[in-house]
Symmetry: C2
Subunit: 367 residues, 2 copies
């Protein structure tokens, strides 16, 4: 989950908080590691002294992918002795890249074996994945997890919800159209950067064949509670109608069909650029906090543990929705009250709450 | 000046403070830009689709070199149309790389034209310049300003001074030996990374032919005042003898002969690796604050403007010298008192104070 501010907030709350709050995101990557290793095994290896280039695109602080990346780089190191490997971490310019390098160099509490891999070079890029990051024909393996749901701009305000999964009509269509444009742009940029035979491993928040998505897998719908509690602050006179309307996640959750369209439609520029779908599947990864609750059955403990993982990636959006006329302190008080209400809700009635992860996993190859 | 904490401190004090405090470091680079452009004009250009790679090694936040780098990249863009250019900013893992990318992307108050240069790609590396940063035979032009005086470790405490320029006997020799080892290591790493015909432009704090060095160009010696005022805090019972002894800059200012030795000695591994000295000179760049004082003649205004530029790079060393038993607040109070004393000294007797920059400029080529 790739917004800088949320990661910084989490990092500032200490390493333990961090590890817990991103535990689920790491599970998603760990569970899918065999897919990335298969892609790494299929890459062409340069024989002219050029490096093999691997990228973690939308890496945030690089912590959740560290173990997986180590396995991929070791696999490549064994496959291609003597060939230099470049590992590039990318995210927006304001991302905490120092934390990325501290993770790589083993200067945090997350164990790193990356520097033990010989002839491997680590870099970062602050260029958005909607733009051109790498020279043409230079990228071998692009990995990206839980990043492409961020769209480049919000197409409109949503009148009756905070997230496009709750929008309808023209508003829903506008978000889906923006999501389609950004997805196509992202794939097109990567298709130019990939070498022939290069692969992409893209694991993204999406809507699965049964209509499930993050925090909406049969129990209580997390985004509906966000919406309900934020709306409740209007009713109580804490925030204004305008603020409610302006609070929207700059995200699009895509269906499997929407993810696959540019890769299957022969008239699409992505298809024409040679990018092909090798594999697609959806998976639900169970919320680690709800899983813990199933064991300990303590509603208070569940509520206290659960809210930070929601807050780590959503807080920025709620703060940003508030009027610029409010002081930072006032904004923080409103948002604290909001998450406290969510915590109370979970404590009073814990059943059904779960931020289960619903991802669509795509493996693509440039032919 | 390449320590993270100092740059962060400066950055946190606001953009105006930042620009003023690093004005002299930018002057050093701006004045020497023709040397870098000459080196860029002499580089071999790849004809097989590989990129031209340029690096700013020990870049800190990248602000002081931004204008120079833009000229270098534009020169290369004109020389080599259609050839991708990679620009890599390097520093230690804890450096503020987000600020580097924000500078590149024009998100600060420093104007950036870097993104207007077509087919140019920006990256960062958090690997120390004493280590291997790039794949072999891949670097075309390495630029480094005001960075290599930082040594990889302090060889000993200095008994009677805070900086090696004031040390003598075995202590002085130990710093010079560490400085020689680190300089040779740095050059050797770069010689492996450079392509044949690749260049280095290295502009470093040093001791010139007349014995001048930073803040010691004929008037009051800045490092002697640092030492005297820090020693005075022992006499006043504010800090301990141990703290005084433990306060040493992890720096070595090298003579011209010391800079040139590995490049001229045919038995040296650097010479054997093919690195050759193309050009060497020393320059004194006048302190911008003393220059302003020569115009306005207001001692108070001089003192207030002058101390932040000293403080921006030296504060970290004085804080680090204090006992771990002291609280952060206590440490800050001691260091505030120390710089206040320096400010009073300048206010009471402003003549002769000047942080003139004394640099040795080297251009090297790998043959």
């Amino acid at each position: 989950m790739s917004t800088t501010s949320s990661i910084r907030d989490v990092a500032m709350k200490g390493a333990g908080y961090y590890s817990r709050a991103t535990t689920g995101a790491k599970d998603v990557i760990d569970n899918a590691t065999p897919m990335v290793l298969d892609a790494a095994a299929a890459l062409p290896i340069p024989s002219d002294g050029r490096p093999v280039t691997v990228a973690d695109i939308g890496c945030a602080d690089g912590g959740t992918s560290l173990a997986m990346i180590a396995r991929v780089l070791r696999t490549l190191r064994e496959r291609a002795p003597g060939v230099p490997i470049q590992m590039v971490y990318t995210d927006l310019p304001r991302n905490d890249f120092s934390q990325v390098f501290q993770h790589i160099h083993g200067l945090t509490d997350v164990e790193s074996a990356l520097l033990d891999i010989p002839d491997t070079y680590f870099f970062a890029s602050g260029t958005s994945f909607h733009q051109n990051i790498f020279p043409p024909n230079s990228l071998h393996l692009g990995f990206s997890a839980t990043a492409s749901h961020y769209i480049s701009e919000k197409p409109c305000a949503i009148s009756d919800h905070v997230h496009m999964v709750g929008a309808s009509g023209d508003e829903r269509a506008a978000y889906e159209a923006q999501g389609a444009r950004d997805w196509e742009t992202m794939l097109l940029q990567r298709s130019k950067e990939l070498v022939r035979g290069g692969h992409l491993a893209l694991f993204n928040f999406g809507i699965d064949e049964e209509g499930r998505y993050l925090g909406n897998t049969g129990g209580v719908s997390m985004f509906n509670i966000f919406n309900e509690l934020w709306r409740d602050l209007v009713d109580r006179g804490v925030i204004t109608d305008d603020e409610y309307r302006e609070t929207n996640f700059a995200q699009c959750y895509r269906t499997v069909a929407q993810f696959c369209a540019p890769l299957n439609d022969r008239s699409n520029p992505v298809y024409k650029a040679g990018l092909r779908l090798k594999h697609v599947e959806t998976r639900v990864v169970r919320c680690p906090f709800e899983r813990d609750f199933a064991d300990h059955r303590d509603p208070d403990r569940f509520a206290v543990a659960y809210i930070p993982t929601l807050r780590s990636w959503s807080e920025h959006t709620f703060v940003a929705g508030l009027s610029a006329d409010r002081s930072p302190t006032e904004k923080q008080e409103i948002v604290d009250r909001f998450y406290d209400a969510f915590e109370d809700r979970v404590r009073d009635n814990p059943e059904g709450h779960a931020m289960d992860y619903v991802h669509t996993y795509l493996i693509c190859e440039k032919v």
